[in-house]
Amino acid sequence: MATYYTKSHEWVRIDGDIATVGITRHAADELGELVFVEAKDAGVELKQGDAAAVVESVKAASDIYAPVSGSIAGFNSRLTDEPTLVSNDSEGEGWIFKLKIDDSEALSAELSGLMDQDSYAAQIG
Protein backbone atom coordinates (compact mmCIF):
# COMPACT_ATOMS: atom_id res chain seq x y z
CA MET A 1 0.00 0.00 0.00
CA ALA A 2 1.48 3.31 -1.06
CA THR A 3 1.39 6.26 1.28
CA TYR A 4 0.74 9.73 -0.14
CA TYR A 5 1.54 13.08 1.48
CA THR A 6 -0.06 16.53 1.31
CA LYS A 7 1.51 19.98 1.43
CA SER A 8 -0.47 20.53 4.64
CA HIS A 9 1.36 17.57 6.26
CA GLU A 10 -1.29 14.85 6.22
CA TRP A 11 -0.52 11.31 5.07
CA VAL A 12 -3.09 9.03 3.44
CA ARG A 13 -2.97 5.30 2.78
CA ILE A 14 -5.49 3.68 0.42
CA ASP A 15 -6.80 0.15 0.96
CA GLY A 16 -9.60 -0.65 -1.47
CA ASP A 17 -12.24 2.02 -0.95
CA ILE A 18 -10.97 3.04 2.48
CA ALA A 19 -8.42 5.82 3.02
CA THR A 20 -6.64 6.03 6.38
CA VAL A 21 -5.43 9.52 7.32
CA GLY A 22 -3.02 10.95 9.87
CA ILE A 23 -0.45 13.70 10.24
CA THR A 24 3.21 13.33 9.39
CA ARG A 25 6.07 12.88 11.83
CA HIS A 26 7.21 16.38 10.84
CA ALA A 27 3.80 17.89 11.64
CA ALA A 28 3.60 15.99 14.93
CA ASP A 29 7.03 17.29 15.95
CA GLU A 30 6.02 20.85 15.07
CA LEU A 31 2.79 20.66 17.09
CA GLY A 32 4.32 19.18 20.21
CA GLU A 33 2.33 17.06 22.67
CA LEU A 34 -1.31 16.86 21.72
CA VAL A 35 -4.04 17.12 24.34
CA PHE A 36 -7.15 16.60 22.23
CA VAL A 37 -8.07 15.15 18.84
CA GLU A 38 -11.49 14.97 17.19
CA ALA A 39 -12.78 14.24 13.70
CA LYS A 40 -16.04 15.17 12.00
CA ASP A 41 -18.90 12.78 12.65
CA ALA A 42 -19.16 9.50 10.75
CA GLY A 43 -20.95 9.91 7.45
CA VAL A 44 -19.97 13.53 6.90
CA GLU A 45 -19.05 13.95 3.23
CA LEU A 46 -15.87 15.85 2.51
CA LYS A 47 -14.17 17.17 -0.61
CA GLN A 48 -10.39 17.01 -0.94
CA GLY A 49 -9.00 19.88 1.15
CA ASP A 50 -12.02 20.22 3.47
CA ALA A 51 -11.35 20.43 7.22
CA ALA A 52 -11.90 16.90 8.54
CA ALA A 53 -10.42 16.84 12.05
CA VAL A 54 -8.84 19.05 14.70
CA VAL A 55 -5.76 18.40 16.77
CA GLU A 56 -5.09 20.56 19.83
CA SER A 57 -1.74 21.06 21.49
CA VAL A 58 -1.41 22.82 24.85
CA LYS A 59 -1.11 26.08 22.98
CA ALA A 60 -3.22 25.94 19.83
CA ALA A 61 -5.76 24.13 17.67
CA SER A 62 -4.87 23.00 14.13
CA ASP A 63 -7.17 21.76 11.37
CA ILE A 64 -6.47 18.49 9.58
CA TYR A 65 -7.70 18.39 5.99
CA ALA A 66 -9.11 15.55 3.92
CA PRO A 67 -6.29 14.49 1.55
CA VAL A 68 -8.88 12.97 -0.80
CA SER A 69 -12.66 13.23 -1.16
CA GLY A 70 -14.85 10.79 0.73
CA SER A 71 -17.13 10.40 3.72
CA ILE A 72 -15.93 9.92 7.29
CA ALA A 73 -15.94 6.19 7.96
CA GLY A 74 -14.31 6.07 11.37
CA PHE A 75 -12.26 7.84 14.03
CA ASN A 76 -9.34 6.35 15.95
CA SER A 77 -11.18 6.14 19.27
CA ARG A 78 -7.94 5.39 21.16
CA LEU A 79 -7.07 9.08 20.64
CA THR A 80 -9.93 10.14 22.92
CA ASP A 81 -8.04 8.95 25.99
CA GLU A 82 -4.56 8.91 24.48
CA PRO A 83 -4.10 11.88 22.11
CA THR A 84 -0.32 11.59 22.52
CA LEU A 85 -0.46 8.48 20.30
CA VAL A 86 -0.40 10.95 17.41
CA SER A 87 2.81 12.47 18.71
CA ASN A 88 4.43 9.14 19.50
CA ASP A 89 3.46 7.08 16.44
CA SER A 90 2.08 9.60 13.97
CA GLU A 91 2.20 7.37 10.89
CA GLY A 92 1.14 4.15 12.62
CA GLU A 93 -1.04 3.69 15.74
CA GLY A 94 -1.65 7.44 15.76
CA TRP A 95 -3.78 7.49 12.61
CA ILE A 96 -6.70 9.90 13.02
CA PHE A 97 -9.66 9.03 10.77
CA LYS A 98 -10.77 6.86 7.84
CA LEU A 99 -12.60 8.00 4.74
CA LYS A 100 -14.84 5.87 2.54
CA ILE A 101 -14.09 6.67 -1.07
CA ASP A 102 -17.16 6.91 -3.25
CA ASP A 103 -15.60 7.81 -6.59
CA SER A 104 -12.53 5.78 -7.54
CA GLU A 105 -11.95 7.72 -10.78
CA ALA A 106 -11.82 11.03 -8.97
CA LEU A 107 -9.50 9.39 -6.45
CA SER A 108 -6.83 8.68 -9.08
CA ALA A 109 -6.83 12.31 -10.15
CA GLU A 110 -6.66 13.49 -6.53
CA LEU A 111 -3.80 11.15 -5.66
CA SER A 112 -1.80 12.32 -8.67
CA GLY A 113 -1.71 15.77 -7.07
CA LEU A 114 -0.21 14.45 -3.80
CA MET A 115 3.42 13.64 -3.00
CA ASP A 116 5.22 10.38 -2.44
CA GLN A 117 7.52 9.93 0.53
CA ASP A 118 10.62 11.22 -1.28
CA SER A 119 8.91 14.35 -2.63
CA TYR A 120 7.47 15.08 0.80
CA ALA A 121 10.85 14.61 2.46
CA ALA A 122 12.29 17.06 -0.08
CA GLN A 123 9.52 19.60 0.69
CA ILE A 124 10.13 19.66 4.42
CA GLY A 125 13.88 19.72 3.81
Binding site: G32, E33, V35, F36, E38, V54, E56, S57, V58, K59, A60, A61, T80, P83
Partner: protein, 382 residues
Amino acid sequence: MTDPSTDAPLKQTPLHALHLALGVRMVPFAGYEMPLQYKAGLMAEHLHTRRKAGLFDVSHMGQLKITARSGSNADAATALETLIPADVLSLGAGRQRYGLLTNEDGGICDDLMFANMGDWFYVVVNAACKDADADRIEAAIGNRVTVERCFDRALLALQGPAAEAVLAPICPDAAAMRFMDVRETRIMDTPVIISRSGYTGEDGFEISVAAKDAEHVADALLANENVLPVGLGARDSLRLEAGLCLYGSDLDTTTSPVEASLMWSIQKARKPGGSRAGGYPGAGEVEAQLAQGTQRVRVGLQATGRAPVRGGAPLFADPNGATQVGVVTSGAFGPSVDHPVAMGYVAPAHAGTGMPLYAELRGRFVPVTVAALPFTPARFKR
Protein backbone atom coordinates in the same frame (compact mmCIF):
# COMPACT_ATOMS: atom_id res chain seq x y z
CA MET B 1 13.37 37.06 12.56
CA THR B 2 10.99 39.95 11.79
CA ASP B 3 7.75 41.09 13.35
CA PRO B 4 4.93 39.58 11.24
CA SER B 5 2.70 42.63 11.75
CA THR B 6 5.25 45.34 10.94
CA ASP B 7 8.11 43.51 9.16
CA ALA B 8 10.46 45.33 11.55
CA PRO B 9 13.42 43.33 12.83
CA LEU B 10 12.68 41.75 16.19
CA LYS B 11 14.73 42.67 19.24
CA GLN B 12 16.68 39.97 21.00
CA THR B 13 17.17 39.56 24.74
CA PRO B 14 20.64 39.37 26.33
CA LEU B 15 20.14 35.58 26.55
CA HIS B 16 19.54 35.06 22.84
CA ALA B 17 22.73 33.10 22.20
CA LEU B 18 22.04 30.90 25.22
CA HIS B 19 18.54 30.06 23.94
CA LEU B 20 19.95 28.99 20.59
CA ALA B 21 22.61 26.90 22.28
CA LEU B 22 19.96 25.19 24.43
CA GLY B 23 17.83 24.33 21.38
CA VAL B 24 14.71 26.48 21.19
CA ARG B 25 11.70 27.32 19.08
CA MET B 26 11.47 31.11 18.86
CA VAL B 27 8.33 33.18 18.28
CA PRO B 28 7.70 36.90 17.82
CA PHE B 29 6.24 38.39 20.99
CA ALA B 30 5.81 42.11 21.79
CA GLY B 31 8.54 43.09 19.33
CA TYR B 32 11.00 40.51 20.65
CA GLU B 33 12.20 37.15 19.42
CA MET B 34 11.28 35.02 22.45
CA PRO B 35 11.57 31.33 23.36
CA LEU B 36 8.23 29.53 22.91
CA GLN B 37 9.64 26.22 24.09
CA TYR B 38 12.88 24.30 24.40
CA LYS B 39 13.65 20.67 23.63
CA ALA B 40 11.56 19.27 26.51
CA GLY B 41 8.36 20.78 25.09
CA LEU B 42 5.51 22.76 26.65
CA MET B 43 3.99 19.96 28.67
CA ALA B 44 7.27 18.77 30.23
CA GLU B 45 8.40 22.34 30.90
CA HIS B 46 5.12 23.14 32.64
CA LEU B 47 5.15 20.02 34.81
CA HIS B 48 8.84 20.41 35.67
CA THR B 49 8.20 23.95 36.91
CA ARG B 50 5.52 22.69 39.30
CA ARG B 51 7.66 19.76 40.49
CA LYS B 52 11.14 21.32 40.64
CA ALA B 53 12.15 24.59 39.00
CA GLY B 54 11.94 26.34 35.64
CA LEU B 55 14.09 29.22 34.39
CA PHE B 56 12.32 31.78 32.20
CA ASP B 57 13.83 34.64 30.21
CA VAL B 58 11.40 37.54 30.64
CA SER B 59 13.87 40.25 29.65
CA HIS B 60 11.30 41.67 27.22
CA MET B 61 9.39 43.08 30.19
CA GLY B 62 9.95 46.73 31.04
CA GLN B 63 11.95 47.61 34.14
CA LEU B 64 11.64 51.17 35.46
CA LYS B 65 13.55 53.00 38.17
CA ILE B 66 11.40 55.75 39.59
CA THR B 67 13.08 58.25 41.91
CA ALA B 68 11.60 61.25 43.72
CA ARG B 69 13.11 64.56 42.61
CA SER B 70 12.84 65.72 46.23
CA GLY B 71 14.99 62.80 47.43
CA SER B 72 12.16 61.55 49.66
CA ASN B 73 10.81 58.16 48.58
CA ALA B 74 7.45 58.99 50.18
CA ASP B 75 7.07 61.76 47.60
CA ALA B 76 7.56 59.18 44.83
CA ALA B 77 4.96 56.95 46.50
CA THR B 78 2.47 59.80 46.76
CA ALA B 79 3.05 60.70 43.11
CA LEU B 80 2.62 57.07 41.99
CA GLU B 81 -0.67 56.89 43.87
CA THR B 82 -2.08 59.45 41.41
CA LEU B 83 -1.64 56.81 38.67
CA ILE B 84 -1.89 53.46 40.48
CA PRO B 85 -4.99 52.65 42.55
CA ALA B 86 -3.00 50.81 45.22
CA ASP B 87 -1.61 51.70 48.61
CA VAL B 88 1.92 52.65 47.53
CA LEU B 89 2.66 54.89 50.49
CA SER B 90 2.43 52.26 53.21
CA LEU B 91 4.49 49.69 51.31
CA GLY B 92 7.61 49.13 53.39
CA ALA B 93 11.15 49.18 52.05
CA GLY B 94 12.09 45.80 50.60
CA ARG B 95 8.48 44.91 49.76
CA GLN B 96 6.69 44.46 46.46
CA ARG B 97 3.03 44.77 45.46
CA TYR B 98 0.83 44.15 42.40
CA GLY B 99 -0.84 47.20 40.88
CA LEU B 100 -2.64 48.65 37.89
CA LEU B 101 -2.33 51.72 35.74
CA THR B 102 -5.83 53.02 35.02
CA ASN B 103 -7.19 55.47 32.45
CA GLU B 104 -9.76 58.24 32.86
CA ASP B 105 -12.60 55.77 32.19
CA GLY B 106 -11.39 53.40 34.88
CA GLY B 107 -10.02 50.98 32.26
CA ILE B 108 -6.73 49.18 32.78
CA CYS B 109 -3.74 50.52 30.76
CA ASP B 110 -1.40 47.90 32.19
CA ASP B 111 -0.80 45.73 35.22
CA LEU B 112 2.52 45.87 36.98
CA MET B 113 4.65 44.99 40.00
CA PHE B 114 6.09 47.82 42.08
CA ALA B 115 8.64 47.59 44.86
CA ASN B 116 9.93 50.02 47.47
CA MET B 117 13.73 49.89 47.18
CA GLY B 118 14.29 52.34 50.08
CA ASP B 119 15.18 55.41 48.06
CA TRP B 120 13.49 54.56 44.74
CA PHE B 121 10.70 52.44 43.30
CA TYR B 122 11.42 49.43 41.09
CA VAL B 123 8.55 48.88 38.66
CA VAL B 124 8.12 45.98 36.20
CA VAL B 125 5.59 46.46 33.40
CA ASN B 126 4.45 44.43 30.41
CA ALA B 127 6.66 44.34 27.32
CA ALA B 128 4.03 45.57 24.87
CA CYS B 129 3.16 48.55 27.12
CA LYS B 130 6.56 49.59 28.43
CA ASP B 131 7.17 52.70 26.32
CA ALA B 132 3.59 53.89 26.70
CA ASP B 133 3.69 53.27 30.46
CA ALA B 134 6.95 55.17 30.92
CA ASP B 135 5.61 58.03 28.77
CA ARG B 136 2.39 58.07 30.78
CA ILE B 137 4.22 58.21 34.11
CA GLU B 138 6.60 60.93 32.90
CA ALA B 139 3.79 63.03 31.45
CA ALA B 140 1.70 62.81 34.62
CA ILE B 141 4.27 63.05 37.42
CA GLY B 142 7.57 63.86 35.66
CA ASN B 143 7.77 67.07 37.68
CA ARG B 144 7.96 65.01 40.88
CA VAL B 145 9.90 61.90 39.83
CA THR B 146 12.50 60.81 37.30
CA VAL B 147 11.71 57.71 35.25
CA GLU B 148 14.72 55.70 34.16
CA ARG B 149 13.90 53.13 31.47
CA CYS B 150 16.14 50.16 32.27
CA PHE B 151 14.99 48.34 29.13
CA ASP B 152 18.44 46.93 28.41
CA ARG B 153 18.51 44.99 31.69
CA ALA B 154 17.78 41.27 31.69
CA LEU B 155 15.01 39.73 33.81
CA LEU B 156 15.05 36.03 34.67
CA ALA B 157 12.35 34.14 36.55
CA LEU B 158 13.28 31.07 38.57
CA GLN B 159 9.99 29.40 39.52
CA GLY B 160 9.04 26.22 41.32
CA PRO B 161 9.28 24.47 44.68
CA ALA B 162 13.05 23.90 44.24
CA ALA B 163 13.76 27.59 43.49
CA GLU B 164 15.04 28.45 46.97
CA ALA B 165 17.29 25.39 47.15
CA VAL B 166 18.71 26.28 43.73
CA LEU B 167 19.31 29.96 44.41
CA ALA B 168 20.41 30.03 48.05
CA PRO B 169 23.86 28.40 47.54
CA ILE B 170 24.85 31.18 45.11
CA CYS B 171 22.79 33.94 46.76
CA PRO B 172 22.64 33.46 50.55
CA ASP B 173 20.17 36.37 51.02
CA ALA B 174 17.52 34.50 49.03
CA ALA B 175 16.62 31.95 51.69
CA ALA B 176 15.40 34.47 54.27
CA MET B 177 13.15 36.27 51.81
CA ARG B 178 9.41 35.76 51.95
CA PHE B 179 6.74 36.14 49.25
CA MET B 180 6.88 39.69 47.79
CA ASP B 181 10.20 40.60 49.45
CA VAL B 182 12.72 42.44 47.27
CA ARG B 183 16.48 42.80 47.80
CA GLU B 184 19.46 44.32 46.06
CA THR B 185 22.04 41.61 46.53
CA ARG B 186 24.53 39.47 44.61
CA ILE B 187 24.39 36.12 42.86
CA MET B 188 27.98 34.90 43.15
CA ASP B 189 29.83 38.17 42.41
CA THR B 190 27.11 39.69 40.24
CA PRO B 191 24.90 42.57 41.48
CA VAL B 192 21.20 41.72 41.08
CA ILE B 193 17.76 42.80 42.26
CA ILE B 194 15.72 39.78 43.30
CA SER B 195 12.08 39.60 44.27
CA ARG B 196 10.37 36.54 45.71
CA SER B 197 7.49 36.54 43.26
CA GLY B 198 6.55 35.41 39.79
CA TYR B 199 3.81 34.47 37.37
CA THR B 200 3.27 30.75 37.88
CA GLY B 201 1.55 30.38 41.26
CA GLU B 202 4.68 28.68 42.56
CA ASP B 203 7.29 29.89 45.01
CA GLY B 204 10.15 31.49 43.13
CA PHE B 205 12.23 34.53 42.32
CA GLU B 206 12.54 37.13 39.62
CA ILE B 207 16.12 38.22 39.04
CA SER B 208 17.01 41.55 37.45
CA VAL B 209 20.58 41.68 36.19
CA ALA B 210 22.69 43.84 33.85
CA ALA B 211 22.65 42.54 30.26
CA LYS B 212 26.36 41.75 30.29
CA ASP B 213 25.98 39.50 33.36
CA ALA B 214 22.76 37.76 32.34
CA GLU B 215 24.27 34.69 30.72
CA HIS B 216 26.68 34.19 33.64
CA VAL B 217 23.74 34.07 36.07
CA ALA B 218 21.55 31.94 33.79
CA ASP B 219 24.38 29.45 33.27
CA ALA B 220 24.88 29.12 37.03
CA LEU B 221 21.16 28.42 37.57
CA LEU B 222 20.90 25.98 34.65
CA ALA B 223 23.92 24.10 35.99
CA ASN B 224 21.63 22.82 38.75
CA GLU B 225 20.05 19.53 37.67
CA ASN B 226 16.69 20.61 39.11
CA VAL B 227 16.41 23.55 36.69
CA LEU B 228 15.01 23.29 33.18
CA PRO B 229 14.73 26.23 30.75
CA VAL B 230 11.05 27.04 30.18
CA GLY B 231 9.52 29.06 27.35
CA LEU B 232 6.55 31.40 26.99
CA GLY B 233 4.26 28.50 26.03
CA ALA B 234 4.46 26.88 29.45
CA ARG B 235 4.54 30.31 31.10
CA ASP B 236 1.06 30.88 29.66
CA SER B 237 -0.42 27.56 30.84
CA LEU B 238 1.23 28.01 34.27
CA ARG B 239 -0.20 31.49 34.80
CA LEU B 240 -3.60 30.39 33.55
CA GLU B 241 -3.76 27.50 36.03
CA ALA B 242 -2.67 30.02 38.69
CA GLY B 243 -5.61 32.26 37.73
CA LEU B 244 -3.33 35.17 36.81
CA CYS B 245 -4.37 37.67 34.14
CA LEU B 246 -2.51 38.22 30.89
CA TYR B 247 -2.62 41.86 29.87
CA GLY B 248 -3.95 42.19 26.32
CA SER B 249 -6.06 39.03 26.69
CA ASP B 250 -7.81 39.14 30.07
CA LEU B 251 -7.26 42.83 30.76
CA ASP B 252 -7.29 45.86 28.49
CA THR B 253 -8.30 49.51 28.42
CA THR B 254 -11.99 48.54 28.33
CA THR B 255 -11.90 46.35 31.45
CA SER B 256 -12.05 47.96 34.88
CA PRO B 257 -10.54 46.64 38.12
CA VAL B 258 -14.08 45.84 39.31
CA GLU B 259 -14.96 43.85 36.20
CA ALA B 260 -11.57 42.12 36.24
CA SER B 261 -12.08 40.94 39.85
CA LEU B 262 -8.90 42.79 40.82
CA MET B 263 -10.32 44.93 43.64
CA TRP B 264 -7.92 43.09 45.98
CA SER B 265 -5.17 45.16 44.33
CA ILE B 266 -6.83 48.35 45.59
CA GLN B 267 -6.10 48.34 49.31
CA LYS B 268 -8.43 49.73 51.97
CA ALA B 269 -6.76 53.16 52.10
CA ARG B 270 -7.58 53.76 48.42
CA LYS B 271 -11.15 52.42 48.47
CA PRO B 272 -14.20 54.57 49.25
CA GLY B 273 -14.00 55.56 52.93
CA GLY B 274 -10.24 54.98 53.04
CA SER B 275 -7.78 57.63 54.17
CA ARG B 276 -6.55 58.26 50.60
CA ALA B 277 -9.61 57.06 48.66
CA GLY B 278 -9.70 57.72 44.94
CA GLY B 279 -7.26 60.19 43.42
CA TYR B 280 -6.28 57.94 40.52
CA PRO B 281 -7.44 58.10 36.87
CA GLY B 282 -11.00 56.84 36.53
CA ALA B 283 -11.58 56.64 40.29
CA GLY B 284 -15.11 58.02 39.91
CA GLU B 285 -16.04 55.32 37.41
CA VAL B 286 -14.47 52.54 39.49
CA GLU B 287 -16.28 53.73 42.62
CA ALA B 288 -19.58 53.95 40.75
CA GLN B 289 -19.11 50.38 39.53
CA LEU B 290 -18.34 49.26 43.07
CA ALA B 291 -21.57 50.82 44.29
CA GLN B 292 -23.83 49.86 41.38
CA GLY B 293 -22.28 46.68 40.02
CA THR B 294 -21.05 45.94 36.50
CA GLN B 295 -22.41 44.28 33.38
CA ARG B 296 -19.70 41.60 33.41
CA VAL B 297 -17.13 40.06 35.69
CA ARG B 298 -14.02 37.94 35.18
CA VAL B 299 -14.35 34.29 36.19
CA GLY B 300 -12.51 31.00 35.85
CA LEU B 301 -13.97 28.42 33.48
CA GLN B 302 -13.47 24.69 33.52
CA ALA B 303 -14.45 22.63 30.48
CA THR B 304 -16.31 19.43 31.23
CA GLY B 305 -14.84 17.64 28.21
CA ARG B 306 -11.27 17.37 27.00
CA ALA B 307 -11.43 19.94 24.19
CA PRO B 308 -9.57 23.12 25.15
CA VAL B 309 -11.72 26.25 25.01
CA ARG B 310 -9.64 29.12 23.64
CA GLY B 311 -9.76 32.91 23.94
CA GLY B 312 -12.46 34.50 21.79
CA ALA B 313 -15.03 31.72 22.20
CA PRO B 314 -18.49 33.14 22.97
CA LEU B 315 -20.21 31.85 26.11
CA PHE B 316 -23.89 31.02 26.26
CA ALA B 317 -26.39 30.30 29.04
CA ASP B 318 -28.08 27.55 27.02
CA PRO B 319 -26.79 24.59 24.97
CA ASN B 320 -28.33 25.93 21.75
CA GLY B 321 -26.42 29.20 21.65
CA ALA B 322 -29.51 31.39 21.96
CA THR B 323 -28.41 33.71 24.77
CA GLN B 324 -24.81 34.94 24.83
CA VAL B 325 -23.75 35.84 28.36
CA GLY B 326 -19.99 36.29 27.95
CA VAL B 327 -16.75 35.52 26.17
CA VAL B 328 -13.62 33.50 26.89
CA THR B 329 -10.51 35.71 27.09
CA SER B 330 -7.85 33.04 27.45
CA GLY B 331 -7.83 29.28 27.54
CA ALA B 332 -5.48 26.34 27.24
CA PHE B 333 -5.04 22.78 28.37
CA GLY B 334 -3.77 22.76 31.96
CA PRO B 335 -1.07 20.08 32.20
CA SER B 336 -1.04 20.01 36.03
CA VAL B 337 -4.79 19.84 36.48
CA ASP B 338 -5.05 17.58 33.40
CA HIS B 339 -8.08 19.31 31.95
CA PRO B 340 -8.77 22.42 29.91
CA VAL B 341 -8.68 25.70 31.85
CA ALA B 342 -9.87 29.13 30.79
CA MET B 343 -11.01 32.48 32.04
CA GLY B 344 -13.42 34.96 30.62
CA TYR B 345 -16.02 37.62 31.32
CA VAL B 346 -19.65 36.78 32.00
CA ALA B 347 -22.76 38.61 33.13
CA PRO B 348 -22.91 38.67 36.97
CA ALA B 349 -26.07 36.53 37.03
CA HIS B 350 -24.02 33.70 35.49
CA ALA B 351 -20.78 34.28 37.41
CA GLY B 352 -21.41 32.09 40.45
CA THR B 353 -19.03 29.19 40.98
CA GLY B 354 -20.54 26.03 39.56
CA MET B 355 -22.82 27.83 37.07
CA PRO B 356 -23.15 25.81 33.86
CA LEU B 357 -22.36 27.64 30.61
CA TYR B 358 -21.74 26.61 27.01
CA ALA B 359 -18.76 27.72 24.92
CA GLU B 360 -19.06 27.81 21.15
CA LEU B 361 -16.36 25.60 19.71
CA ARG B 362 -16.24 24.87 16.00
CA GLY B 363 -19.96 25.38 15.58
CA ARG B 364 -20.92 23.30 18.61
CA PHE B 365 -21.71 24.24 22.19
CA VAL B 366 -19.53 22.48 24.74
CA PRO B 367 -20.36 22.57 28.44
CA VAL B 368 -18.14 24.58 30.78
CA THR B 369 -18.54 25.39 34.45
CA VAL B 370 -17.70 28.61 36.25
CA ALA B 371 -14.79 27.65 38.51
CA ALA B 372 -13.03 29.24 41.46
CA LEU B 373 -9.56 30.62 40.68
CA PRO B 374 -6.81 29.53 40.92
CA PHE B 375 -7.11 26.08 39.37
CA THR B 376 -3.91 25.03 41.14
CA PRO B 377 -3.33 26.14 44.74
CA ALA B 378 -0.74 28.91 45.12
CA ARG B 379 2.39 27.70 46.89
CA PHE B 380 4.06 30.92 47.94
CA LYS B 381 6.46 31.18 50.88
CA ARG B 382 4.42 33.49 53.07
